[in-house]
Amino acid sequence: MLLIYCPYCEIERAETEFRCGGEAHIARPSDPEKTTDDDWVEFLYMRSNTKGIAAERWRHIHGCGRFFNAVRDTVSDEFLKIYKTGEAKPDLEALAREAGK
């Protein structure tokens, strides 16, 4: 079973306590009135669906309940970095190089 570190509980827990919340760092349009239909489509539906190193939202739903972000290799399932909501998106290429990918 995959173990995932929760940055709020500060502990590793079984993956069954977590849910993946899809791609991270997708900002909601700040002015909905002025947002075009195409931009809404982009925001709501278009995802990069990376094969490899990707930043994702995760939620410790059966624990503290909080959302956090994680960089995961979608091929090997290896977590390369876990960070709290609101912290800046890490340099994915640098993380990949560090991990020898």
């Binding site: 709020y8 509980c9 502990i11 827990r13 306590e17 624990g63 503290c64 309940g65």
Partner: protein, 191 residues
């Protein structure tokens, strides 16, 4: 059970027969409690703790207790507060008046969940039949509290003594949780 945490708060329900009574582990229903879900920002915690009667823990997965109060860490801005049933209104007015207009949420969730006490030398073993958490005393000392999964049901487990745990589940899940605990304990009898 006076050596356990919050011993005047977490008491067996006298009207209920034990769900399980083996030499190595027993399961007892907990008498009704006042339960609150409390959410607030860091700046309000000190006041809230003073009003409630026990400080709100900020260290993850820990609890603070007196005989009649328990504040359980649920998340970085979320606590479960436990008090005797008759103190329900006093807690609401106490915290409400102390915090005034400071943003916070205090919700009475007394009837949302039910609790059982699992005690005995095999208590941790029994919980581990359905919970993937290391319950050794080094990593899960007395006072540790967490939400997790028991098989497929969300539960809260709280260690109130070296061999004693409170297991709380939402009302409609308790038959499933208690039923599976009792069923898993049959393995102990068979051995």
């Amino acid at each position: 059970m006076s050596d356990l945490l919050a011993s005047d708060l977490i008491t067996p329900d006298a009207g209920e027969p034990p769900l399980l009574g083996l030499a190595s582990v027993s399961i007892l229903k907990v008498a009704p409690l006042a339960r609150f879900s409390f959410r607030a920002r860091t700046a309000s915690l000190k006041k809230a703790g003073t009003a409630f009667g026990v400080p709100l823990p900020v260290k993850p997965l820990t609890s603070e207790t007196t005989a009649k109060r328990a504040a359980l860490w649920m998340g970085p801005d979320e606590w479960t507060l436990l008090a005797p049933e008759e103190d329900l209104q006093a807690v609401i007015t106490g915290i409400g008046s102390k915090l005034g207009n400071e943003p916070h949420a205090l919700v009475d969730v007394s009837d949302r969940s039910e609790a059982v006490i699992v005690t005995g030398e095999k208590a941790a073993w029994l919980l581990n039949t359905g919970i993937f958490v290391d319950l050794s005393q080094e990593t899960f000392p007395v006072g540790t509290v967490t939400r997790t999964l028991f098989h497929k049901a969300p539960v809260m487990i709280w260690r109130i003594g070296p061999d004693a745990f409170v297991v709380e589940a939402w009302g409609s899940f308790m038959d499933y949780v208690a039923g599976l605990l009792v069923q898993c304990a049959q393995e102990l009898e068979a051995a």
